[in-house]
C-alpha cells in the first residue's frame, strides 16, 4: 500500500473521482493553473483540462450557488474554499439553498465543499477557523472531518458519492505532517466514528487534528500508565451516537476536545448526548478542552495560549483520572 501525506491522500481521492466519474468537476479560487493555495489540485488542470478544473472569480457565494445549480442538473461539483474561513461568504447558499432543498421539495443537491481549516500557523483571525459547528446547526448538510490520510481519501470519496451537500474539513495542520498507508483505487470510508486507540480507563473524543493531539497527550507512557481510549469521530453529521455511548459505557470517564471555539462546538453536542443518554454510566464530570470564545490571534504566544495544547489535554485527562 502506498504511503501518502494527508494532503496527497485528498489529492489522490479527488483525482480518482475525476478519472472515474465524468460528472465530477472541481472549482475554486486558484485551483487550476496554480493548483490550489495548498496544492491539493496540483497538476489537475494538465490531466483534466480547464473545463473540469475551474478557476473561478473570487466569489464564494457564487462558488457554492453555481455548484448547487450544476448538481441539480446532474453534475457532482467539488468546490474548494481557499480557507475554511471564507465559507462565511458562501454561508447563505450552503445553509439556505443547498441544505434545505431536499427537505422542501425532494431535490437532492450532491455537492462537496472542501474547507481547509484550523490554526497553529499564525494565520490570524481569518485563516485559522474551525467552522464545522456552523453547519452542524444547519439541517441538511453533512459534516466530515477526517484525521488520517486513509480516512481523508475514503471520506472524500464517500462525500462525492453522497447525494447530499457535504462540507469536508481538511485540517491544514495535517496536510504535510501526517503520513500513512492509503489504499490505491477508489474506496469509501463510512461516516462513522473509529477507535483510534482502544483503552479502558478514560475516553478522549476528538476529530481532525485534535485526534493526533489526543494520541500524543495520552500516549501509553504518560498518565501513569492509564489506558486511554481515543475515539475519532470522523463524521460530525451524521454523528455516531452509538460509538460515543459505547466508549463511555466502557471507560465511564470522558474528555471531549475541540479546536473550535468552545460555545456550541461539536464537542458541546457530544457532551449533551452523553449527559442525556449515559449519565448513569459516568464516573466523573464530562470534561471539555476547547479554544475559548475568541478570534484566533496572530502572534504565536497568543495563538498557542488559546488553541488546545497537548499539556492542557493531558492535564484534563489527569484531573479526570484522579477524580
Amino acid at each position: 500500500m502506498p504511503t501518502m501525506t494527508y494532503l496527497e491522500a485528498i489529492s489522490d481521492g479527488l483525482r480518482e473521482a475525476l478519472r472515474t466519474d465524468e460528472r465530477v468537476f472541481v472549482m475554486g479560487e486558484d485551483v487550476g493553473a496554480f493548483g490550489g493555495a495548498f496544492k491539493v489540485t496540483d497538476g489537475f488542470v494538465e490531466e483534466f483540462g480547464e473545463e473540469r478544473v475551474i478557476d473561478t472569480p473570487l466569489a464564494e457565494a457564487a462558488i457554492v450557488g453555481t455548484a448547487v445549480g450544476a448538481a441539480v442538473v446532474g453534475m457532482r461539483p467539488v468546490c474548494e474554499m481557499q480557507f475554511a474561513d471564507f465559507v462565511a461568504c458562501g454561508f447563505d447558499q450552503l445553509v439556505n439553498v443547498a441544505g434545505k432543498t431536499h427537505y422542501r421539495f425532494g431535490l437532492a443537491v450532491p455537492i462537496v465543499v472542501r474547507l481547509p481549516s484550523g490554526g497553529g500557523f499564525s494565520g490570524g483571525p481569518f485563516h485559522s477557523q474551525n467552522p464545522e459547528a456552523w453547519f452542524m446547526h444547519a439541517p441538511g448538510i453533512k459534516v466530515l472531518a477526517p484525521s488520517t490520510p486513509e480516512d481523508a481519501k475514503g471520506l472524500l470519496t464517500a462525500a462525492i458519492r453522497d447525494p447530499n451537500p457535504v462540507v469536508f474539513l481538511e485540517h491544514k495542520h495535517l496536510y504535510r505532517r501526517v503520513k500513512g498507508e492509503v489504499p490505491a483505487g477508489s474506496y469509501e470510508t463510512p461516516m462513522t466514528a473509529r477507535i483510534a486507540r482502544a483503552g479502558e480507563d478514560l475516553t478522549v473524543i476528538a476529530y481532525g487534528a485534535m485526534v493526533h493531539a489526543a494520541l500524543e497527550a495520552t500516549a501509553p507512557e504518560t498518565l501513569d500508565g492509564a489506558s486511554v481510549e481515543v475515539l475519532d469521530l470522523r463524521s460530525l453529521v451524521p454523528l455516531d451516537t452509538d460509538a460515543i455511548l459505547a466508549s463511555v459505557a466502557k471507560t465511564s470517564k470522558v474528555v471531549i476536545l475541540d479546536e473550535a471555539n468552545e460555545t456550541c462546538a461539536a464537542g458541546a453536542q457530544v457532551a449533551a448526548l452523553i449527559a442525556e443518554h449515559a449519565f448513569e454510566q459516568l464516573d466523573g464530570p464530562i470534561r471539555r478542552v476547547a479554544t475559548p470564545d475568541v478570534p484566533i490571534p496572530f502572534s504565536p504566544p497568543l495563538e498557542q495560549a488559546v488553541l488546545p495544547s497537548v499539556e492542557r489535554i493531558r492535564d484534563a485527562c489527569r484531573d479526570l483520572l484522579d477524580y
Binding site: P57, A59, A61, G65, G69, A71, H102, Y103, G106, A108
Partner: protein, 371 residues
C-alpha cells in the same frame, strides 16, 4: 443615465402600440392569455382563502405582473431549467404544475408541491425542471448560473433562466452571478422584474444607476422591455435564449412592471402614490392580451369562464386534501437515494414543436454515463 421614475409613461388604454412581427401563432397568443388568467384566478382564489384563514402564514402574489413570468417561461424549451420567484407563479403554470397542487401548497396541505414543508410560492417541481426559490431572492441567480455552467461543460444546447426583482440587485449575489456568467459567457438569461418597490423601498433608494445598465459592464447586453406586454416579454426572452444557444453568453432582460398589491397580503401599500397605481392599472397586462385575443376572434369571456371553473374545481380539490402527517415533519432532511436531476417541463410554445434541432430529453452525456 436613465431616470429612476417608474416607466413607461404615457397613455395605454385603447392605444396599444402596434405589435412587432411575432413568432407567436394565434394559439400561442391565446395560451399566453390563458396562463395569465390562470395565474390571476389562482392568486385571487388563494387571497380569498387567506382572508378566510385557510392559508397559514402570509400570502404573496404577482397581481399585475403576470406577463413577466408567463412571457419569459413561454420562451423556454422543455430541457431548459427555470428559477422563478414569488411574483412568478405563471412560470410554474407554463411548466405544467396543476392548479390544485398550488392551492394545496398555499394551504399547507399534504398534496401541495412541498407537502407542507414550505409555503406560498416557495416551491418548484423538480420533475418539471424548476428549482424552487428561497427567500434570499438573488440566490437563485447563482444557481441558474451553475446550471448553465453544467450545460456548457457537457456541450448541451440548453439554457437556464432566473428571475430577480429590483431589490435583489442590491445584494452581492446579483453581482457574483452576473459577473461569473459574463466571465464564462454562459447560456443563462436573467430577468430583472422591476416592479418599482422592494417591499416599501422605491427604486430611488435601491440604486443610483438603473441596473440594466450594469449588464454592459459585466460584458453582455441588457435590454428593457415593457413588462406588462406578455408578447414583448416573450420576444425579449426568446431573443436572449437564442443568443445563449448561439454561444454568445448571458442577457439581462429588465421587464418594467408594477407591483399592484402589497408586498404581502398584510401590506396596505400606504407608501405608493395612488396616481401611480391608477396609471399602471390602465396598463393591465391581461386586459391588453384580451384585446389581442378578441381581435383574433377569441371568445374571451368563455376563456375566462373556463379558467375560473378550472380554478374553482382545483380549490375544491385542494380544500378536501388532508393536512400533512406531523410524523412527516422530521423526514427527508437528507437524500438517501442516488440524486435524481431535474426533469423536463412543459414548453407549450408552438415553435418548439415545429422546430427541428431541439435535442431529445435525457440525452445528456452525464445521464448516459450513469446508465
Amino acid at each position: 443615465m436613465k431616470a429612476l421614475s417608474p416607466r413607461p409613461t404615457g397613455p395605454a388604454v385603447a392605444e396599444d402600440p402596434a405589435d412587432a412581427p411575432t413568432r407567436l401563432i394565434p394559439a400561442d397568443r391565446v395560451e399566453l392569455l390563458r396562463a395569465m388568467l390562470l395565474m390571476r384566478a389562482i392568486e385571487a382564489r388563494a387571497l380569498a382563502l387567506y382572508k378566510q384563514g385557510k392559508v397559514p402564514g402570509s400570502f404573496y402574489d404577482g397581481f399585475g405582473q403576470e406577463a413577466v413570468s408567463v412571457g419569459a417561461a413561454f420562451a423556454m424549451g422543455p430541457r431548459d431549467r427555470l428559477c422563478p420567484l414569488h411574483r412568478d407563479l405563471g412560470a410554474h403554470l407554463v411548466r405544467g404544475v396543476e392548479p390544485t397542487r398550488i392551492l394545496a401548497q398555499y394551504m399547507g396541505r399534504a398534496s401541495g408541491v412541498t407537502r407542507g414543508r414550505d409555503g406560498n410560492v416557495h416551491f418548484g417541481d423538480p420533475a418539471l425542471g424548476v428549482v424552487g426559490m428561497v427567500s434570499m431572492l438573488p440566490d437563485m441567480l447563482c444557481v441558474a448560473t451553475g446550471m448553465a455552467m453544467a450545460f456548457r461543460l457537457r456541450g448541451e444546447a440548453r439554457v437556464a433562466l432566473a428571475w430577480c426583482g429590483d431589490g435583489a440587485t442590491s445584494r452581492g449575489d446579483f453581482h457574483e452571478a452576473l459577473n461569473w456568467a459574463g466571465v464564462q459567457r454562459l447560456p443563462v438569461v436573467f430577468v430583472l422584474e422591476n416592479n418599482q418597490y422592494a417591499y416599501s423601498t422605491p427604486l430611488a433608494k435601491q440604486f443610483a444607476v438603473d441596473p440594466v445598465e450594469r449588464a454592459r459592464v459585466y460584458g453582455f447586453p441588457g435590454v428593457t422591455v415593457d413588462g406588462n406586454d406578455v408578447e414583448a416579454v416573450f420576444e425579449a426572452v426568446h431573443a436572449a435564449r437564442e443568443r445563449a444557444l448561439a454561444g454568445d453568453g448571458p442577457t439581462l432582460v429588465e421587464a418594467v412592471t408594477m407591483r399592484m398589491h402589497g408586498h404581502a397580503a398584510h401590506d396596505d401599500m400606504r407608501y405608493v402614490p395612488p396616481e401611480l397605481l391608477a396609471e399602471w392599472a390602465a396598463r393591465d397586462p391581461i386586459e391588453r392580451q384580451q384585446r389581442r385575443a378578441a381581435a383574433l376572434g377569441v371568445d374571451v369571456e368563455a376563456l375566462r369562464a373556463a379558467v375560473d371553473a378550472e380554478v374553482e374545481a382545483a380549490a375544491a380539490e385542494a380544500l378536501a386534501a388532508p393536512m400533512p402527517d406531523p410524523d412527516d415533519a422530521t423526514r427527508g432532511v437528507f437524500a438517501e437515494r442516488e440524486a435524481e436531476p431535474l426533469g423536463d417541463g412543459h414548453a407549450p410554445w408552438s415553435g418548439f414543436a415545429a422546430r427541428d434541432g431541439e435535442p431529445p430529453a435525457d440525452a445528456s452525456p452525464a445521464a448516459e454515463a450513469v446508465a
